[in-house]
């Protein structure tokens, strides 16, 4: 479980996060949604420790992460898997080397064990046979899947995904969403996904935190969104004609 309390973060004079509280449960896919500049990626970076919030606390299973120094954070970091918006694969390494990197750094596994683990992770994301390819030789969707494979290589307890569907076609987006959902169930990990993809919101959002201008504006499930009367949330979620049509259909069915 990850708990955040009263997170404040500013860049210069601009206050990006204004006291965010939330609890992210294990075994559930939690989404942080909001418009551009609402502070969702900043919040994710505050949670994983890439940004230090000016105020507030982050707890990983009751351990206060924000209070820890670099060395104290290492055991928790080993349990974190993260998929970055642009995948952030190490471009001078092959797919296999990317997957084996944290195993090389933090485990005593033999080379064959590490190779087995890398192959297992690649199989899990349906990328068998791509071991020797470099990231530049992969498509956007494949890079995301390698990113996910790398994130699960150490068997994560906490999985973070920053805009996993950005730049992907709808079919691949659904594939990535399903993969994230399946892995969350498989590893019983606490998964936090930053997204503004409404298919993800409606498809995998077991807990949704909506940020508006740096504030926590709403929280609930994907089912709660349909009955929400919060104007800002509705304007954001049902902005596209497709989503409006979907809501009309659902209301008619009810």
């Amino acid at each position: 479980m990850i708990e955040i309390q009263n997170i404040h973060k500013s860049f210069g004079d601009k206050e990006v996060l204004k006291g965010i509280d939330a609890i992210f449960e294990p075994g559930k896919v939690s989404l942080i949604i909001g418009g551009s500049g609402s502070g969702k990626s900043t919040l994710l970076k505050c949670i994983v420790g890439l940004h230090n919030p000016e105020q507030g606390r982050v707890f990983f299973d009751k351990q206060e992460f924000t209070k820890m120094n670099f060395e104290e954070r290492i055991p928790i970091r080993k349990e974190i898997g993260m998929l970055f918006q642009n995948s952030a694969l190490f471009d001078s390494m092959t797919v296999e080397q990317n997957l084996m990197f944290s195993l090389d750094m933090f485990t005593d596994m033999s080379k064959s064990e590490k190779l087995d683990r890398a192959n297992f992770c690649l199989e899990r994301v349906n990328l068998v046979g791509t071991n020797k390819l470099f990231p530049t030789e992969l498509s956007g969707g494949m890079k995301k899947r390698v990113g996910i494979a790398r994130a699960i290589s150490m068997g994560p307890k906490y999985l973070f995904c920053d805009e996993p569907n950005s730049g992907l076609d709808p079919a691949t987006s659904i594939l990535i969403d399903e993969l994230i959902q399946d892995l969350t169930q498989e590893y019983k990990c606490t998964t936090i996904v930053v997204t503004h993809d409404m298919n993800s919101v409606m498809g995998i959002g077991e807990y949704i935190l909506y940020l508006y201008k740096g504030e926590k504006f709403w929280e609930g499930t994907n089912q709660d969104i349909l009955g929400s009367n919060v104007k800002e949330l509705n304007d954001f979620v049902f902005a596209s004609p497709l989503m409006q049509a979907a809501r009309q259909t659902m209301k008619r069915e009810e």
Binding site: G49, L50, K78, I80, M82, Q85, N86, D91, F106
Partner: protein, 214 residues
């Protein structure tokens, strides 16, 4: 080891070519300026040797390597920063300055002195070749000159300079690359800034070391 190979072997050819030509040109220019019959020709070899050991070997090599190695380090680390690869390392619990910068600094302070020794050797050899091929000084006079009045302390000064320059050549670009913000344009700008700041720092520290040690 990879960083050592990259900095050391990767720059060896360039250093050999530059130093050999500098040595050859220096010899001809010294011979051109020494027109007095009272000064023996062997002094050309001696001046060339001491100039190369004390100044040209370490400083010219450092300035050239600042451009070659420095811009490479800055762009490597800067690209990793803007593509979130450094963030990915940090998330994994890797001490990123220790993993990315420290090996390069260690490689710099060990390999740059080695390259400077090669540069000095090549410059002296270049002087012999340039001087005898152009007729500026005979090989016998030149060899007699480089053997005479040798002060071993000049090599110590050269090595101190080389170690300090090795640190500057690797640490300044690594710092600029590590803290770059933005995209490809900013990575390029950081590389340029790193080379300019690095070159000025090399020249300033060259002056300081010379003033302190000589």
């Amino acid at each position: 080891m990879l960083a050592m190979t990259d900095i050391g072997l990767g720059s060896l050819g360039l250093i050999v070519i530059i130093s050999t030509f500098i040595g050859a040109v220096m010899t001809m220019q010294i011979a051109f300026q020494l027109v007095s019959d009272l000064i023996p020709n062997s002094i050309i070899g001696q001046i060339n040797r001491d100039s190369n050991i004390l100044e040209l070997g370490p400083t010219i090599s450092a300035l050239v390597l600042m451009g070659k190695v420095g811009s490479s380090i800055s762009s490597q680390i800067g690209s990793m920063r803007v593509t979130e690869q450094i963030d990915a390392l940090e998330i994994m619990g890797i001490n990123t300055p220790g993993y990315l910068i420290l090996p390069k600094v260690i490689a710099g302070v060990t390999m740059i002195p080695a390259l400077v020794i090669v540069a000095i050797f090549c410059a002296i050899l270049g002087g012999l070749l340039g001087g005898s091929l152009s007729g500026a000084v005979s090989a016998a006079d030149y060899i007699q000159g480089i053997q005479g009045g040798f002060n071993g302390f000049t090599v110590s000064v050269a090595m101190v300079k080389a170690v300090v320059f090795g640190f500057i050549i690797t640490s300044v670009p690594a710092y600029k690359g590590f803290y770059v913000r933005g995209g490809a344009l900013e990575v390029g700008e950081a590389g340029t800034q790193a080379v300019v700041i690095g070159c000025i720092t090399i020249l300033a520290s060259d002056y300081l070391i010379t003033a302190i040690m000589l």
